[in-house]
């Protein structure tokens, strides 16, 4: 019976006659403290870690990914911390010494078969959380679906194992993806042979390139800099090599790049939405990789 005495001593359970011990020396109170600590750890990780782990995000849709991860982690942290806190506490407080090597079971626990209000509360809280998640997801998703007038059109074609980008109206076809800063872009994505995955990770958008189907995705690049387009759908032998470089540049640089790819100055100016006079004809002073670079040997 020494075990049971020890068990009661640890547990400090309220007895019907005795004075109730202070909240923080009861199991519920101790679990509450552990829960607070675990929740705090989860929230700190959720708020600060994604920023360090994600690549440099280059658009609003990219920031949506970051915001979603942070928000969902903060929301999930208390739930996860509750399960962890209870499991952790149960090992400390409710595990009799040497029980792991004993062939005899410890004495039976309380015959508790359920707790209706607690179950309802648990289901209620998770339902509430699900509604919050859903509202967040719907709001962000619908904001990403909005089409902008005058968006730059880019026709993206995947084939085994390279991407081709066509800028309608300029006659430019390239294997690097140049995008002007702060201009809405609409990608019209298709494929020639099998399904590929067109994925701009720094902009948080992705869609499959399906043969004979056209899929539209939208974003507005906001941050200058290079990125890599990687195929996200296993597409055969050299899938691993199906990536190439791209960069977000200023509208003028973009116009100049179009010109260097063979567009006329007027078409380039119209496509880049900059005055024709700001473009240098047959300029080669672009900051980007050489054309037709498949990016295979990055």
């Amino acid at each position: 019976m020494s075990f049971e005495q020890q068990f009661d001593a640890i547990e400090n359970e309220i007895t019907e006659e005795g004075d109730a011990p202070p909240f923080f020396s009861r199991p519920g109170g101790k679990i509450f403290i552990i829960w607070l600590v675990f929740t705090a750890i989860g929230v700190v990780i959720g708020v600060f870690a994604p920023h360090h782990l994600l690549p440099g995000l280059q658009s609003g849709t990219g920031s949506d990914v970051w915001a979603t991860i942070v928000f969902f982690t903060v929301l999930a942290a208390p739930v996860a911390a509750f399960v962890y806190a209870l499991a952790f506490y149960s090992l400390l407080a409710w595990r009799p010494k040497k029980s792991g090597s004993s062939d005899e079971p410890p004495p039976d626990g309380p015959p508790q078969r359920g707790n209706g209000p607690l179950t309802i509360l648990w289901v209620g809280i998770s339902t509430l959380l699900v509604i919050v998640l859903l509202v967040w997801g719907m709001t962000v998703w619908s904001s990403q679906q909005v089409a902008h007038d005058g968006a730059l059109q880019v026709n993206v074609t995947g084939q085994q194992w390279l991407w081709t980008y066509e800028y309608p109206g300029t006659g430019v076809t390239s294997r690097t993806l140049e995008l002007p800063q702060d201009r809405p872009v609409e990608f019209n994505v298709t494929a020639l042979d099998v399904i590929h995955g067109f994925w701009l990770d720094t902009m948080g958008i992705q869609t499959d390139a399906n043969p004979n189907e056209n899929t539209v995705i939208r974003t507005t690049p906001t941050t200058l800099g290079g990125f890599v387009v990687r195929c996200s759908q296993l597409c055969g032998l050299n899938h691993a090599f199906m990536n190439n470089k791209g960069s977000v540049v200023t509208p003028t640089q973009f116009g100049n790049w179009l010109v260097s790819q063979g567009a006329t100055t007027s078409a380039a100016a119209k496509s880049a939405d900059v005055p024709e006079s700001s473009l240098t004809p047959s300029s080669t002073s672009t900051t980007t990789a050489a054309p037709m670079n498949t990016g295979a040997s990055q």
Binding site: A87, S102, G109, Q112, V130, M138, G204, L237
Partner: protein, 651 residues
């Protein structure tokens, strides 16, 4: 206990020299020979007739491997009983006893044996063999990825290994609980003498065995370079290995899982002991039944999809080829109609087994039994409505993103209830820290992480970053390996004494546990890291910016494999020389612990009568799930025993 006149055990029944008929000559070796011979005949005929036509090699591979499957099953004896029935020579009782393995010793494990305990043991070994193959392939993948441009594997081999690792693990995880435990343990738990359809039970096992060689044949037939999802049109263009892959799926999903699922459902529905109402059955039965029912919904879709795939490849139809008027999205829809329910087929029986473990090792009743049942049914119902979340980024129906986001996130409510049941059972219990309990705690740790990472993926804007990315890979390994397979491992440790008659060596087992628990976190946190950085899945070569994350994952994976090998060593050592197990080493209250070990043929010497559920811990009442074991005469069990026996509080 001393019994004056020991009852005659069925397995001691003397059998005549002709009992069993053809079964006497059939075993796995005969099946192998018959399969090879029929496959050779099929190859010669189909090659002569079809090779050189447009889709010749696809047809030849299909015909040959179909012949293999049929031949193996003829050889092992799958068709004996139906055939004898057709020709009017129905089996005698002696034949049935021979078929159940009477008088054959260890040889019955190589035969078409109808005893559910033999089938369960066969499944147990088969699952371990499949995990060994799948795990070896996983080690090859991780070895390839230890440097950015490794020359360990060619891209083609790598892609095939990715495919076969995925498929073999899916097969192994689908049968890892419903095979060994729903066959061996479940009938005893509910007080049945065997499964409802013992011959179908044996069939479900040997059909899986016959499905595995076609899967491995993909390595010599050109490889399936598509991943296990085999998206069209890439899979329609793939080498003839894809036909072998499809034959494997049709055989496994279309026949074995379906047959096994019907068997489980009918057994639990109709063969429960007297007094075992649906609210008194052990919770494991509920998990198994919902899982089986979900499998019955899911697997026909796989069968259909793969049959259409074969006709696309071998006869020139174009269900799935966009360029010829078909639709790749059709494939994706049919595939995921199977693919998402399937993960719950894998998960549910394992979590149900953990509820048994939580109850036994906390010495408390299962918390909120009815809520647990509702959670299983809720998950089962929602699971058939979430498939398109795998297609958020495919371009198919962007307007359906919101409803599928809703159903996907709703499923976290019943999943949360499963957590409530587990931690509610632990709450204020007396934790008996034996090995099965270790795996329960590891499940709680892993499955929370798997669940939280799952909500990012359920959200379309975040999914556009994580889809097709190593983050997804890490997520589903957290749920399926860290969740379901850890649960199944707990179940192995729990029921090992009953299945093998020996105690599992817990000293080795706990060493294995710590390797598995820690190395698993290292492996998959490495992959979460890769995913956050933007590394796509299923690539053999990668940008050096992902190097450190990959090395972390690979090192973790080696130690993880080491952990599993130590566990395998514990199983093998204990099975051969372990301490002899008492009938009820865990002092548990469900019926499987009330029968003697080793369990006799047809399990119960006397029909059990049940007066309460098996969770009467701490209720101070006599155990309500008693087998009146001392009574040798079955007639002595009074028909109205449930009234007179003092029962515990049935929930």
């Amino acid at each position: 206990m001393s019994i004056a006149t020991a009852p005659l055990l069925l397995e001691d029944t003397p059998l005549g020299p002709k009992a069993g008929g053809l079964y006497r000559r059939q075993n796995a070796l005969v099946g192998l020979i018959a399969g090879v011979v029929l496959a050779a005949i099929g190859w010669v005929i189909s090659h002569a007739l079809l090779q050189g036509s447009n889709w010749g090699s696809d047809m030849v591979v299909t015909v040959t491997l179909t012949c293999w499957v049929i031949g193996f099953n003829i050889g092992i004896g799958t068709f004996n009983a139906p055939f004898r029935w057709v020709v009017g020579k129905d089996s005698t009782r002696e034949d049935e006893l021979y078929g159940a393995g009477v008088g054959q010793g260890a040889a019955r494990y190589w035969k078409y044996c109808t005893d559910h305990k033999v089938v369960g043991t066969q499944y147990f070994v088969l699952v371990m063999v499949l995990f060994a193959i799948g795990g070896t392939l996983a080690m090859m993948i991780r070895t390839q990825l230890i440097t950015a441009h490794s020359s360990f594997l060619s891209p083609g081999t790598y892609n095939n290994i990715v495919t076969i690792h995925g498929m073999i693990m899916i097969i192994a995880t689908i049968i890892m609980v419903s095979g060994p435990f729903a066959n061996f343990i479940l009938p005893i738990m509910i007080g049945a003498k065997d499964m409802a359809f013992p011959r179908l039970n044996a069939m479900s096992l040997w059909v899986v065995v016959s499905a595995v060689p076609p899967l491995l044949a993909t390595f010599v037939l050109g490889g399936v370079d598509t991943g296990w999802t085999t998206y069209a049109p890439l899979s329609v263009q793939a080498p003839p290995a894809m036909d072998a892959f499809a034959i494997c799926i049709i055989t496994f999903a279309g026949v074995s899982v379906t047959v096994a699922g019907i068997n489980t459902i009918v057994t639990v529905s109709t063969m429960r002991a007297k007094g075992m109402t649906m609210s008194r059955v052990p919770i494991f039965a509920w998990g198994s039944v919902v899982s089986a029912a979900l499998g019955l919904y899911a697997m026909p879709a796989f069968l259909t999809a793969m049959s259409m795939m074969i006709t696309d490849r071998a006869t020139g139809t174009s269900f799935f080829v966009n360029q010829l008027g078909g639709a790749g999205w059709l494939w994706e829809n049919v595939f995921w109609t199977m693919g998402h329910p399937e993960v719950y087929v894998i998960l549910l029986p394992g979590t149900a087994a953990l509820m048994e473990i939580a109850s036994t090792f906390s010495r408390k009743p299962v918390f909120a039994y009815k809520a647990a049942v509702a959670a299983f049914v809720g998950i089962g119902s929602l699971a058939i409505m979430v498939w398109a979340h795998h297609m958020f980024t495919t371009g198919w129906a962007p307007n359906l993103a919101t409803p599928f986001m809703l159903t996907t996130e709703l499923i976290s409510i019943p999943t949360g209830v499963i957590f409530l049941v587990l931690i509610g059972t632990i709450w204020k219990g007396s934790i008996w820290a034996r090995l099965p309990m270790y795996f329960l705690y590891l499940f709680l740790w892993n499955f929370i992480i798997g669940g939280v990472t799952g909500i990012y993926l359920s959200d379309v804007p975040a999914d556009q970053f994580f889809h097709g990315n190593m983050f997804t890979t890490a997520h589903f390994h957290y749920t399926l390996l860290g969740g379901a397979m850890i649960a199944a491992t707990g179940a192995v440790c729990y029921w090992f004494p009953k299945m093998t008659g020996r105690m599992l060596n817990e000293r080795i087992g706990k060493t294995a546990f710590w390797f598995i628990a820690i190395a698993f976190q290292v492996t998959y946190f490495g992959q979460f890291w890769e995913g956050f950085q933007g590394m796509p899945r299923r690539i053999a070569f990668y940008d050096p910016i992902f190097l450190r994350a990959n090395q972390m994952s690979t090192i973790g994976a080696y130690f993880l494999m080491l952990g599993w090998m130590i566990l395998l060593a514990a199983i093998i050592v204990s099975w051969r020389n372990g301490k002899i197990a008492p009938a009820n080493p865990w002092h548990a209250k469900s019926l499987e612990w009330k029968v003697q070990t080793p369990v006799p043929l047809e399990n119960f010497l006397v029909d059990p009568v049940v007066t309460s559920d098996p969770y009467t811990y701490g209720e101070g009442v006599p155990d309500g799930q008693n087998q009146p074991s001392a009574a040798p005469e079955p007639e002595l069990v009074p028909a109205g025993a449930s009234e007179s026996t003092s029962g515990g509080g049935a929930s």
